[in-house]
């Protein structure tokens, strides 16, 4: 009898042991519980506060740009600002369409040049090149990402523009094409390295499956590897695009900085960023001109946010298929 009782007590003690750590009790156990609760709460508060802080920064940037920019419309009708191509602030003409068009066209042109080339570079690095070669090229591309944009602009000014002059036989070759080429060279390492990583991360089992069905290397890359790496590649393109839209120095040096609509690839023109940076030092503080430049900065923000949203939506659609 007594033996069986002590045995059952022992069993209870043993089975109760794992529960001790989470049991609410007195003394040390309570301390531990409170301590954990404080740690968890404060960690949570720090995380939430950081997230709120980041959102606040974004919102306040948008707000301050908007608050000053909106003053433009006190003296300029919105239709003139958005649709007129006549930018002549000394004579009270504030038509910003040519800059908006320039920024959109320049970005599109840049992506049209850089995305195909980047994809080929990425496929070459991840699939075709011998290992020693890709191991040598990857760090080189990573270094290119870090080159300051003013250096790219400088090279564009001193090498690319004279080269374009020789090829086309024109007097002036500053313009969208020159800027797009410089920007393409600038974003190419970014897009190709991120795509390269995305393609390299596609599981080998997909490749095996494709080859085992009799696919050639070309078919495997274009039908399996690239579609599987799609979201990573899109991410690379977003980063490249963000860089292209916001790039200022490299563009200023080759785009020509003339406020006229670019109806030719070689016509000197101006985009939102280059116009802001060229004119902001000279404008009176409380003038419509100043407000118009703020509004252009706000537009730039909105355009890049919109493009990111569009790509996010595309990306979600892609994942579903």
């Amino acid at each position: 009898m007594s033996e069986s009782t002590s045995a059952s007590n022992r069993t209870l003690a043993v089975s109760g042991q794992p529960g001790n750590g989470i049991r609410i009790g007195n003394g040390r156990m309570l301390d531990r519980k409170n301590r954990l609760r404080i740690y968890n709460r404060s960690f949570r508060i720090v995380c939430v506060a950081s997230a709120v802080f980041v959102c606040l920064i974004l919102l306040s940037i948008l707000f301050f740009m908007f608050r000053t920019g909106i003053l433009t419309f006190r003296s300029v009708p919105a239709s003139t600002f958005f649709f007129s191509t006549n930018w002549d602030p000394e004579n009270e003409s504030y038509g910003a369409f040519l800059f908006i068009f320039g920024t959109v066209a320049l970005t599109a042109l840049t992506l049209a040049i850089s995305v195909p080339i980047s994809l080929f570079v990425a496929v070459f690095l991840s699939e075709a090149a011998p290992r020693w070669l890709s191991n040598a090229l990857r760090p080189v591309l990573d270094l290119l990402v870090g080159i300051p944009s003013v250096v790219y602009g400088f090279l564009g000014l001193t090498i690319l523009i004279p080269l374009l002059r020789d090829i086309t036989g024109r007097q002036l070759t500053d313009g969208l094409l020159a800027a797009a080429i410089v920007l393409s060279i600038m974003v190419l390492p970014t897009i190709s390295r991120i795509s390269d990583d995305a393609i390299s991360a596609v599981p080998a089992k997909f490749k095996d499956a494709s080859y085992a069905l009799g696919a050639t290397r070309f078919q495997t890359v274009f039908r399996v590897m690239l579609p599987s790496a799609r979201s990573g590649i899109l991410y690379g393109i977003i980063l490249g695009m963000a860089r292209a839209i916001g790039e200022t120095m490299a563009v200023v040096m080759v785009v020509g900085n003339t406020p006229q609509l670019a109806d030719s690839l070689f016509k000197p023109t101006s985009v939102l960023t280059s116009n802001i940076v060229m004119q902001i030092p000279n404008v009176p503080f409380d003038s419509t001109w100043n407000y118009a430049l703020y509004l252009m900065g706000f537009l730039l923000l909105v355009i890049s946010l919109l493009m990111i949203v569009v790509i996010r939506v595309l990306q979600k659609k892609g994942v579903k298929a």
């Binding site: 499956a209 085992a212 069905l213 009799g214 078919q219 399996v224 599987s228």
Partner: protein, 251 residues
Amino acid sequence: MQALIEIERLNLFYGSFHALKNISMDIPEKAITAFIGPSGCGKSTLLRSLNRMNDMIPGTSTHGSIKIAGADIYGKDIDVEALRKNVGMVFQQPNPFPKSIYDNVAYGPRLHGITSRHKLDEIVESSLRGAALWNEVKDHLKRSALSLSGGQQQRLCIARALAVEPDVLLMDEATSALDPISTLKIEELAQELKAKYTIVMVTHNMHQAARVSNQTVFFLNGEVVEYAETEKLFSNPQDQRTEDYISGRFG
């Protein structure tokens, strides 16, 4: 029975490692041949030689000959893509593409130039029926293949392999990542498929080899120790090492 695959004095090296040593065997058509043996004995390597998937691994060299339906698949005039179309493969891990069920099955036929929607629909249906998956997926062919269970994914991979109309089906431990019920389904499927296809399977599971196959080959250290009718090999092994292995004394 007619031999479809004839392997003669095959030697294979990974760099300096001698993975397959002087292997000769005939594999009969429209039957299931199982390769068994401990890990690293070369059974998967031999299987991957039959559709030249070993070509992908750098530093591999193959000597000797493998003839499938009379053609030396390591010969100079061989078209590797056509060979792999003819010798389908199912892998250890179910590996459907991250595409829809339909696109997975249609992948192979599309590679080989079939574009007609009508024809593709037919191939997809008959392949999925062939892999005993049609009834489970016919109403959601557009759904992602990754939404299927592991066993369904593996049958989808079998359907995908059947869609290019191979003669030979290689199964590389095709059930080792699956639960017992899915395994049973795949085994039953293999029994049905052997009426039309020559099946070669690698398995870690001796009971599976005993249940499913017509012939069994026992490998050890890159050599063939014993090759016999399955029933004979398991009931009356000729070699002491075979007996030790099948009775669970090592491996």
